[in-house]
């Protein structure tokens, strides 16, 4: 334990409004902390710079799953276990359910939240590829009100999001209308469980007699943020799957990604595997 915990402050207001008020009013920046699976690691390692935190844990205004005929709205404070346990998400949003199942261990799924995962904004995060494939929207809330933006516009650059300093992620909303779509998600980690992603791809497609009508591909660890692979989608749209199209898609994915060498893997490996995963997906169509 490399931090002196007496130097840190954590407050836990009882309502979302109270939290938003603090974020709006306080001259000191209070950093929101949900399940702590990121920030507490930094605390233990002695590298948690901010000293003031406001807890979002278990706020009922943020921890919910609301199902309507057309959409599923998931509160930012929903844990990965909550997501996995929800039968509607399991059947209607299988990509998200799958991603939740390999986000850390069971213990970390019991505490890690969807909001925390996307706000921490690691390019390797587990839920973004699925959220991008589903073309989710994200609702941001502050004392000034709320706004909803496409999730694909949420990540601006490396670990930088569209959140204003006084804003929180309120919820993520996904459409329910993917019946008949083909789905694919695969994570390549350093081992079979409890692994950080070296690369992950989530994809969703609707075909009509072999022609791709709709296609969306989300990826982790291929750019400095979670990425929608627009160029790759573009070269697949309105195509049927032929060897030529697969080759073109492989080229496209390489052209629009910039994987890196880091402690876990190499750029070359990531690029090659990304193309392989893409091809694996295309063969299922």
């Amino acid at each position: 334990m490399r931090s002196d915990v007496t130097q840190y402050d954590l407050i836990a207001p009882k309502s979302l409004d109270a939290v938003l008020q603090i974020l709006a009013d306080s001259p000191d920046r209070y950093i929101p902390i949900a399940g702590g699976t990121e920030l507490m690691v930094a605390l233990g390692a002695g590298r948690l710079q901010p000293k003031k935190f406001v807890s979002l844990w278990n706020l009922k205004e943020l921890r919910f799953i609301e199902v309507t005929p057309d959409a599923i709205q998931i509160g930012a404070g929903t844990t990965f276990t909550d997501i996995r346990s929800n039968p509607i998400i399991t059947s209607a949003l299988s990509l998200l359910s799958q991603a939740a199942s390999w986000t850390g261990s069971i213990a970390n799924q019991n505490r890690g939240t969807l909001g925390g995962n996307i706000v921490n904004a690691s390019p390797a995060a587990d839920s973004p590829p699925a959220l991008l494939a589903y073309d989710a929207t994200v609702t941001l809330i502050s004392s000034r009100g709320s706004r909803t933006i496409p999730y694909r516009d949420f990540h601006l650059s490396y670990k930088k999001t569209a959140l204003a300093p006084d804003e929180l992620v309120h919820s993520i909303t996904l459409s329910r209308n993917f019946y008949g779509y083909k789905t694919y998600i695969r994570k390549v980690g350093t081992r079979n469980a409890q692994a950080i992603s070296k690369i992950a791809i989530a994809a969703l497609a609707r075909t009509n007699h072999g022609v791709i009508e709709i296609i969306r591909i989300g990826a982790a660890s291929l750019r400095e943020t979670p990425a929608r692979l627009i160029a790759t989608e573009h070269c697949l749209l309105n195509q049927t799957i032929t060897p030529r199209v697969i080759t073109a898609a492989r080229t496209a994915i390489l052209s629009e990604t910039l994987p890196i060498d880091d402690i876990r893997s190499t750029a070359k490996y990531r690029a090659a595997v990304a193309a392989n995963l893409l091809e694996e997906f295309l063969h299922t169509l």
């Binding site: 334990m1 915990v5 390549v188 350093t190 079979n192 469980a193 409890q194 190499t266 090659a272 995963l277």
Partner: protein, 749 residues
């Protein structure tokens, strides 16, 4: 239950906490040390080398290892100062507030750079950068030139293994106390209490009686707490001495990984003359290990690696040149297997290569070269005890369904993106200390009667999960014909227990067990001779007899001291003779799946068959094998130490990849038993054996699956990717034989 007290669970009254200020550079001269005025230093105890009452040295075999650095540092994380304070939470900031400047010197990190001797970082002249060398030649005869000239094949290969972190789940930790009258007392997580006593004697200039060491409940060790406690124990004791308080010094995971010992990386070069019917004619083996910055146990690791380098085969001629070299990396040390996993990896990969060149199956090549009963090993040791590798191989291949699977995989692989393969390794592991080691250890075991008439074992052998306590108590129980739960075993406290030797080298069941057997017999004999006990007694009879004896005599303590079997002779000069009193023999079979989409290999099934003398406790024995195999899987496919200018960059569990339960397949364990005369009830050692077989078996299987020759571990998906996408479709090198010794070499790795 959560009741077992590991060292970090223990609090003593008035206890302070310690921390270590370490070098941030891998090599250089310390030019200044200053203390940031923001910290109230008067609250702290600060220890430097100047405070050391005895010698500034952590002694194992060589006096090269400073307890605390003075003018120079030779590795990143080298300890320079020690701090203590009553409040644990302020120490990290205090450590960061000690500002040390250096004049950096060029550092070396590889065996190759060390060999070049452009930078000499240790020793001088002949032994520049070289901790130890060995020359082991069968019958002390060099290989005649004509062997090479007339051989049908000469097969060369180079094989490398990386460092491996022991990754016990409990980090290194101790609590030390000091008083003028009593001396030093250290309790903590460790394998060899008397090693620490020896280290403390030197650091404090105190006799052994004033250096008391107690082993606490230890959460895994695997060799990582064999030599390292001498460092952390000395540090905590110095802080206790200077502060006047008990001091707890427990590392967190990041510090433990960055600064404590790891398995020695290795490079082995094989050059083998082979006849066209697959008989080994001669072998030259160049075996080099990287010892890090100080010698620690490198000479002994090198020794075991050297002796195991030729494996369970008959070599008409053999020359092994071995060396342990220095680099500016934190010193490497003991890790289960202790040199053998390194040289056996090379050998068993090389045997598969030889098989391919000659045109035999891996199985057939082994069969034509196995040692058998009555043969002599490469050190000239006569194998008197029965050994039947032919049978073990047959049984292992049968139980693993090797042939059918190999055929099935060959058939199915071309149309599958997941390539499957099966491979095996055949090997042995010598139990106990090499040669005259046991004689030098001169181990002693005692058994005393408690006031309630119960036998209590007094040994320095430590329990750290491998079953020491269970096995030794079981041996005593069986000898005394008492129920197992009647036997007590004392906590290893050097004030109360004799030195039964370190808990290493797979010697405990065999050597110490034998001494327990003898001491128990002696206890029984004493009671019978006293007239209070008659043969054919019941446990209650025993207890009564014991109590009566205590009334008459006050106490009863029996003992047994190591007796070297008359026929074990080891020539340290020529590296020949009886290297080990007993060998365990094994065949391990690994099944793998290599996913051509992600280039990752995983072990899907594993068979471990071994002949181990006598299985004293089936569940414990199987547990040892399974655990060792899991570590071997990690060694082969997952555990990579990533070094950055001599610093371990991945010193966290997130980035140092140890197999989880989802990565380890079912491990099928079988035993054969040919009782050894040397061990308790015939037992031979098994603790380290399972570390030797997995890595070569796995890589042999991966070669079967992919037709790619991998020669280095850890083998990560990124490495498989590099090779799988580099090689043209025709596969690996052409292996057409030619006349008079074609040489089949690996291109430089």
């Amino acid at each position: 239950m959560g009741r077992a007290k590991y060292v970090d669970d223990i609090t003593l009254p008035d206890m302070w906490f310690g921390a270590t200020v370490r070098s941030t550079i891998p090599r250089g001269r310390i030019t200044s040390i200053s203390f940031d005025p923001a910290i109230p230093w008067n609250e702290y105890t600060i220890v430097s080398a100047a405070d050391i009452p005895g010698e500034n040295c952590i002694v194992h075999l060589t006096k090269d290892h400073p307890c605390l650095a003075v003018t120079h540092v030779n590795h990143a994380e080298e300890p320079i100062l020690l701090l203590a304070h009553p409040n644990r939470s302020v120490l990290p900031a205090a450590v960061a507030a000690v500002h040390i400047t250096y004049e950096e010197l060029p550092a070396i990190y590889t065996i190759e750079d060390s060999e070049k001797k452009v930078q000499v970082i240790w020793g001088e002249g002949e032994s520049a950068n070289t901790f130890k060398t060995y020359l082991m030649q069968k019958d002390q005869k060099p290989i005649p030139d004509e062997i090479w000239q007339t051989a049908d094949y000469i097969v060369e290969g180079e094989y490398r293994t990386g460092a491996q972190e022991q990754l016990y789940i409990e980090n290194n930790g101790v609590i030390a106390e000091y008083s003028e009258t009593e001396g030093v007392k250290v309790q903590g997580s460790m394998q060899c209490p008397f090693y620490l006593v020896h280290a403390l004697e030197l650091v404090f200039n105190l006799p052994a009686e004033k250096c008391r060491v107690i082993q606490t409940e230890t959460g895994g060790a695997f060799g990582g707490k064999e030599d390292f406690p001498s460092v952390i124990g000395s540090h905590a004791a110095l802080l206790a001495m200077k502060s006047g308080h008990p001091v707890k010094l427990c590392y967190d995971r990041a510090e433990d990984m960055a600064s404590t010992t790891k398995r020695h990386p290795s490079r082995t070069r094989h050059r083998t003359a082979v006849s066209k019917d697959g008989k080994l004619l001669a072998g030259e083996i160049d075996f080099a290990i990287d010892g890090g910055a100080y010698a620690t146990l490198s000479p002994v690791v090198l020794s075991r690696g050297t002796i195991h380098a030729p494996g369970p085969y008959h070599w008409p001629y053999l020359t092994v040149r071995a060396k342990a070299v220095a680099t500016n990396i934190p010193p490497h040390g003991a890790f289960r297997g202790f040199g053998a996993p390194q040289s056996i990896f090379a050998l068993e990969r090389h045997m598969d290569k030889i098989a391919k060149v000659v045109g035999l199956t891996p199985e057939e090549l082994r069969r034509r070269n196995f040692l058998g009963t009555g043969d002599h090993t490469a050190t000239g040791q006569l194998l008197k005890d029965p050994v039947d590798m032919q049978h073990l191989l047959t049984r292992a291949l049968e139980e693993s369904d090797y042939h059918a699977k190999r055929e099935q995989f060959d058939r199915e692989n071309p149309s599958n993106t997941v390539k499957r393969g099966i491979g095996f390794a055949t090997f042995f592991h010598g139990a106990g200390f090499t040669g005259s080691g046991e004689r030098r250890l001169n181990s002693l075991v005692e058994i005393e009667l408690t006031e309630h008439g119960q036998p209590r074992l007094l040994v320095s052998s430590t329990e750290f999960g491998q079953g020491t306590n269970t096995i030794l108590c079981q041996v005593a129980a069986q000898t005394l014909r008492l129920p197992y739960d009647r036997i007590l075993i004392a906590q290893p406290d050097t004030r109360h227990v004799p030195n039964s030797g370190p808990t290493v080298a797979s010697r405990t069941a065999m050597v110490v067990g034998k001494l327990v057997e003898r001491a128990a017999q002696s206890l029984c004999d004493t009671l019978i001779h006293s007239g209070h006990l008659t043969p054919g007694y019941t446990p209650e009879d025993f207890r009564q007899a014991a109590l009566l004896y205590l009334v008459d005599h006050g106490s009863l303590k029996s003992e047994a001291r190591y007796e070297s079997p008359g026929d074990i002779f080891w020539d340290d000069e020529n590296y020949s003779g009886e290297a080990y009193p007993a060998y365990a023999w094994a065949v391990y079979v690994a099944e793998v799946a290599v996913d051509a989409t992600t280039y990752s290999a995983s072990v899907t099934n594993f068979y471990a068959l071994q002949e181990v003398g006598k299985v004293l406790h089936p569940i414990l024995a199987a547990g040892q094998i399974e655990g060792g195999v899991a570590q071997g899987i990690g060694y082969a496919l997952y555990e990579k130490c990533v070094w950055n200018n001599g610093h371990l960059a991945n010193n966290q569990m997130t980035n140092y990849i140890m197999p989880t339960s989802a990565d380890v397949p079912h491990i099928h364990v079988s035993f054969e038993e040919i009782p050894s005369p040397h061990g308790a009830f015939g037992a031979k050692g098994i603790g380290e054996l399972p570390m030797d077989g997995p890595a070569p078996a796995i890589l042999n299987a991966i070669e079967d699956a992919t037709d790619i020759v991998f020669t280095e571990i850890p083998l990560l998906p990124e490495d498989i990717f590099e090779c799988m996408t580099r090689i043209p479709e025709t596969g690996s090198e052409s292996l057409d034989p030619a006349v008079a010794g074609p040489i089949f070499s690996e291109a430089a790795a």
